[in-house]
Assembly symmetry: C2
Homo-oligomer: 498 residues x 2
């Protein structure tokens, strides 16, 4: 059944869904309920599946209200006639149903689900049922493979005519900015390493936020390819690209229950690596109570699945497990983390040695995995690239190619003008630096939205401190934000001394 | 963490969710994503949990856009300061998680889920996970009891100081308007039978739509109590009341997958009966391929669960199983069904005998269940109330109490002026009258939105027909709608002759 309505542009934009609004009474008489999928077709051949919403007053009968996401870039004028059809229930719902009843799915079935998620043909509850179905019966290794393959195949791809390496951190550790050191080390040796990163969601900074202090990070796939052609690398934001689009929707829906979605995480990481054409992958897996991987047993299970999937995709995968006891580096917050990175690359005397050590370690592993050198030689080569300035030179090329100021010195990076030092109230030994407390304070200080906000720590795990010693400094862009951060610092103890 | 924003009223209304809109960049820096729950508090003590949406252009930083559902009736002015807090994840999520992992839930846990659904504290994906959890491990009988009890307890209740009876059809059969005949028969004998019904969702008419042809059906609980006090009965729309509010949300979310939610259906029905204070309940369960219950085995399982739950709630329940081969009555569509009902109540010569027979049967069973008469006497008593006009007189009282025209004759009911008769193309025997084809045609004719639209059938299952005999007549309110109905009738065969 289809019918014709006149377009009405609404100056409105929603997050999760692409919305068209029907008059409530009209929708009812057509048997359409809010949340149903409908297809819109214009005579200019624009075509789109959207989620129907209804409105009593804002949209009159005979009209269909269009959210920004619908009319933007589609050359649709006020009053344009649009053919509206109720789309028949996609066959992928049968596949979801099958998995909900505990039966395994083949590639065709999984692909129909992923493809319909990508094309917006499944509603939020339907996608949720799909995610939930993994709890009725856990995904087999084959199913994980089908999922990763299908998610990679339904999005944009980076296909470089050369071998590509990558490094991925499983996350959960503040200030873990090794990526921005590893990438220039590797690229400085002539190896392709196009890196896409995420922005912070509930943390003070993601790699994309930190890199943005030095250069723009939002590019189209075409622009990224040009940057990589010039420099063999990039440090860009992956969220604006259309890589693994189904994955973004699945992640949003997996979040609320916070049920350990390890399988989903593996699929998500591997799908993106496949889409980026990665041949050699080092996975940095910090293990600790405040990271995503709480213990070694879980880490080992994940490692096996990563390696199995790697073999299926002809990708060499090495998982590096490290114990996480404190933030890596001294700065937390985009500008303060960028300063740490530049201090390492420029070999500044105040550089954080833990960040340097870990970056060299990961880069070395990547070189050995790629077969660039013999076992045991990687670290030395990586270190050399830092010492002789080749890594910093490569980073300058990347910053330049992305349109940033490539002559910047680490100490020239602007940090929050409103500062406050926290001093120790007693003497003793640092037994814990609390990641979550740091996150809470940094977000109250305004990070990552305000790039110059954050924390710089002055002590490490195991250090001896005296009463009155500096523990950490708060940075903010305004007095108000500094007050908020201070209030949070009073409530959340960061450095535990015993 | 909470913060203060200024109210901005939006002339906008969404179906499933109550929405407040934050500026996109601001939301990001606060760690809020579209779909998150936030609590709004005004200095006038209004307080509400809503779902956050984000907007780039429509809502500026420092403001929060409020959909109609938020500000309507809450005395909120443009610019009023509102305290916004991210609500901490409700503990019920832990219960949902537990059930997702296959563990049984106790009453307290189930009640926390139902109560949070009622208060809008759970998001659509979270509620979906709850519904999906029933597939990880089916609900035990105890869990079904806890669910029904909790759903009934979280909404409005009808507490009459007397014994109350009710009749419920499990649905799926077009034109099954026995309710409007059974209720006046029972009430005419002095028995309380306050009936709430639903409107059509994807069918040509619900009981509430059909009753609305004769009288208004939307009332508050207080008004309904007055109607029942006067007449011992009512025939009203239940959807506008706050009975079993959690159930409405669960139903919306169960719909898309159309996985047999029998347990959910049982819970839904029983919760509403408990809320209405029902003591004796007859359940009409039509069995057939086009109804909700496809076979006798399923029917028997459902019967046992209904009866077990009845005992837990001290409610006498009788399940009446009948085979369904064709629509009950001749009319389909609100006005045509209302005419059938009045023809039976007014004992008109054209009255549909199947509707009369089934109504008498159900009313008789209800009388015996209540103990109003001895076994085997119910039918006779019910029939007498029809024959002596007592049932029609009672219906007039109900129509009057609900504000309708209580002197209306069956033949005075307006039906669509645009008509078209469909004639048989061959001679033979009627072997099937296709329910779904009837639904499809009626909805194209404009039912239930246009009350006078629909179909009137001239033949029954098993009848012999000759080529050229009238099979059914289409009714519509406009020439355009009649054309649409005709197109559907050409595509969907209604009467199968062999």
């Amino acid at each position: 059944m289809s019918f014709y309505l006149k377009s009405k542009k609404l100056d409105f934009s929603a997050g999760n869904e692409i919305i068209a609004v029907l008059n409530e009474a009209e929708a009812e008489s057509l048997g359409i309920q809010a949340g149903d999928r409908i297809e819109l077709k214009w005579s200019n051949r624009s075509k789109l599946v959207v989620s129907a919403d209804t409105s009593k007053a804002k949209v009159m009968p005979g009209r269909v209200g269009l959210f920004r996401e619908v009319w933007r870039g589609r050359n649709i004028e006020e009053g344009d006639v649009v053919e509206v059809s109720i789309i028949s229930r996609p066959p992928s719902i049968q596949a979801i149903k099958k998995k909900m009843l505990g039966k395994p799915l083949g590639y065709e079935e999984i692909h129909s689900i992923i493809s319909d998620i990508t094309q917006n043909k499944l509603s939020i509850p339907e996608i949720t049922y799909f995610v939930a179905s993994g709890f009725v019966k856990p995904y087999s290794k084959d199913e994980l493979y089908y999922l990763a393959k299908s998610i990679a195949n339904t999005g944009e791809k980076m296909d470089l005519p050369t071998k590509v390496v990558d490094k991925h951190s499983v996350g959960g550790l503040p200030g873990n900015r090794t990526t921005m050191v590893v990438i220039p080390i590797i690229a400085s040796l002539g190896i392709y390493i196009p890196k896409t990163s995420s922005r912070a969601i509930t943390s003070p900074a993601g790699t994309a936020d930190t890199m943005e202090v030095l250069a723009p990070v939002s590019f189209s796939m075409k622009q990224i390819k040009e940057i990589v052609k010039k420099t063999k690398a990039c440090l860009v934001w992956g969220g604006g690209l259309n890589i693994a689009p189904a994955d973004d929707k699945i992640i949003k829906i997996s979040r609320p229950l916070a049920l350990e979605p390890y399988d989903k995480m593996i699929v998500s990481i591997m799908a993106k690596k496949v889409a980026m054409g990665v041949d050699y992958l080092v996975i940095d897996m910090p293990i600790g109570e405040t990271t995503k991987i709480p213990n070694m047993r879980t880490a080992n299970q994940l490692q096996k699945k990563f390696e199995w999937l790697g073999r299926k995709f002809h990708m060499k995968v090495k998982v590096i497990k490290t114990l996480a006891r404190e933030p890596i580096g001294r700065g937390i917050g985009p500008a303060l983390e960028a300063r740490d990175v530049l201090r390492v690359l420029q070999q500044h005397k105040l550089r954080p040695h833990d960040l340097e050590r870990k970056s060299i370690y990961l880069a070395g592993e990547l070189l050995e995995l790629k077969g660039y050198c013999r076992k045991g030689q990687g670290k030395k080569i990586a270190q050399k690239q830092l010492l002789n300035g080749a890594a910093w030179k490569k980073m300058q090329e990347i910053i330049k190619a992305q349109g940033g100021n490539y002559n910047i010195k680490s100490e020239e990076i602007a940090t929050g003008a409103f500062r406050y030092e926290i001093h120790s109230k007693k003497s003793g030994k640092v037994v814990l630096i609390h990641d979550r407390a740091i996150n809470e304070i940094c977000m109250n200080l305004g990070a990552p939205h305000e790039k110059i906000a954050g924390i710089h720590t002055h002590v490490d795990w195991g250090n001896k401190v005296k009463k009155g010693d500096k523990l950490f400094t708060l940075y903010a862009a305004s007095k108000e934000r500094l007050q908020l951060g201070l209030a949070a610092a009073r409530k959340n103890n960061v450095v535990f001394i015993k």
